[in-house]
Symmetry: C2
Subunit: 355 residues, 2 copies
């Protein structure tokens, strides 16, 4: 594994010193300045650049969806993936506004995807799928350890071979997978020890009875896989037992991106679980991460607390696809612009504080 450089605290201080010279009361842009300092530390410059940026959407199916844990049928994973390729999904629309590239990766979608027309901004990676969906983790492990490693490596390859050569500076993570909030909730309990009911939400919109069944299934699965092992499970082991190929792939992508000093933008519950897996494997990755938003999914808050990341906004989003992360790109670009393009008190001839 590439080593991920720890951020140098000197750069946070240099950035703060420089920000104090910009023509505004000290600290008056709040979290935008906090973002700016992080960008400076990641890139080791006072003139950070955040373009080009890409949204990496990884799609895979989940065997557990045969238990009826989602409001939507399994084939929607493939249908929505095809929709991404045609440019008709929310992530296409939002990424276009940000001028961000969209890379869609089949990490293990059950139904074959045959896109007929591609939206200009979208690229498609079809040859990294690990299998046509995971196993139903209520009945057996979701995947083998080899598959978990293969999915993680695929995420790394995407960044190393597709995004790094294009000079990508910011990577927004997105997901598609019917049933994947069930996997994410199981992973959250496995990784944090929090009770299943506290980290399980309604995903695409199940009702009360569906939610109770979802919680019961996850509890049953965790008992089956981890009863002998105590609360905090190793990340690869958690992925093997109850994970998803897209979640493992996103964790690999986050690790590789941080190792190359890219900013990693977490979207909602699924990509943040992937972020936590990456940080458990390499704690220095945390410094490269930005939490875009707080999702409606109950487990997301538990993950953000564990990562000690404070999201930029709370807009009641619960879509995934990288939509919240795409919206956050604008704030990230703005934070970089402020560092690069604002004038200083000296240059502008503006008086400083009177007292």
């Amino acid at each position: 594994m590439n080593s991920i450089p720890e951020l140098n605290p000197t750069w946070f201080q240099r950035a703060a010193d420089y920000q104090a010279r910009l023509t505004m009361p000290t600290g008056a842009l709040g979290r935008l300045l906090e973002l700016g300092r992080q960008l400076c530390a990641v890139q080791e410059t006072l003139q950070p650049r955040t373009e080009p940026a890409a949204v990496l959407v990884m799609a895979a199916d989940h065997g557990v969806s045969e238990e009826g844990v989602s409001a939507y049928p399994t084939e929607v994973t493939g249908q929505m993936t095809a929709n991404f390729l045609r440019g008709g999904a929310a992530i296409n629309v939002l990424a276009k506004r940000q001028g961000a590239r969209v890379l869609v990766v089949d990490m293990g979608v059950q139904q074959p995807i045959s896109p007929q027309a591609f939206a200009g901004q979208v690229e498609w990676v079809a040859d990294l799928a690990v299998a046509r969906g995971t196993h139903n983790f209520v009945k057996s492990p979701a995947m083998t350890m080899e598959q978990a490693e293969q999915a993680l490596a695929a995420g790394r390859r995407i960044v190393a071979e597709r995004l790094a050569p294009a000079g990508m500076r910011v990577l927004a993570l997105g997901d598609m997978g019917i049933g994947n909030t069930t996997s994410a909730s199981a992973l959250t309990t496995a990784l944090t020890g929090q009770p299943v009911a506290a980290v399980t939400g309604r995903g695409t919109g199940i009702d009360d009875a569906g939610w109770k069944r979802k919680v019961a299934l996850i509890e049953k699965a965790l008992e089956r896989h981890f009863s002998q092992r105590g609360n905090r499970i190793e990340p690869m082991e958690a992925l093997r037992a109850v994970g998803g190929f897209e979640i493992a792939g996103l964790a690999g992508a986050a690790l590789e991106a941080a190792g190359r000093r890219m900013i990693v933008v977490l979207d909602g519950f699924i990509s943040s679980v992937a972020g936590l897996i990456a940080v458990r494997m390499a704690p220095a990755a945390r410094g490269y991460m930005i939490a875009a938003h707080r999702s409606v999914e109950a487990g997301h808050t538990a993950i953000l607390q564990t990562l000690d990341l404070n999201p930029l906004f709370d807009l009641g989003l619960r879509l995934g696809e990288g939509t919240g992360a795409a919206l956050a790109l604008n704030l990230i670009h703005s934070a970089a612009d402020i560092m690069r393009d604002m004038g200083t008190f000296e240059k502008a001839g503006v008086s400083g504080r009177g007292k």
Copy 2:
């Protein structure tokens, strides 16, 4: 006064019905969809457009600043206004990222502004200044009723003569004025009846002693101007006694913009006080308003509650200039993009909910 059309509730319902057909679980984009419905109702279409957008920054001085209520000297109002014109301020940088025009208006700056070089995106209106700053409202009314009316009319003219003819669809409000949080806090107590200490913050960054003096001065002024009149003061009367030319101008701009079915984006404390003044004069204006963010200034929350507006984000901003409103433009544009450009379940061949 132009009448402001009440929004037609039918358009909210039509927009919601259409949103339910877009390829995502119902409501999964949360507040972005709420924004989208508002845009549809304002423009009476399911295909709202939010470009072009402009940031209107109104600058004026405040006589009360001679009391030492700000951390910065009075001349900073003029210096920062010149900085806007040269393109070196935060609002220039943030508006540029959004592709928004910046219109800077001298509503009554004390020191003459002689810009030497203009940033390409900025336009300058120098001929509407009401006077070279208000009077110190601790000692006398801030302005005459004629001046309050003149400032309000100037705000209307800017929109009618400069922005409407250019087809502007969204108007973000911004302010510059050393001492203007003192005026805004006094206006907030006058308009809402909330205690001065609860709606007074630290502005550009005064210390504890400065804050206590600021509160005491505002209390003294309000007692002087309004002791006989009870809690809720008429907006023009409040402006006359403790207002500012830029605040009156922004209120006029908000009224004129709403009357022309433009979206009005409130920034922080100052522009939101202007928004409340507009709504007190014409309640239908409220439907056209979006609160960008929750400022650090204590009084802002009181104003937003009175307006019943829920801000889009809370980033610890306290700069003014329209900076938060400019950042919100991206979310507003994104909300419009979602309405116009996403595919529907039928068109995309994506299955609906299974149950």
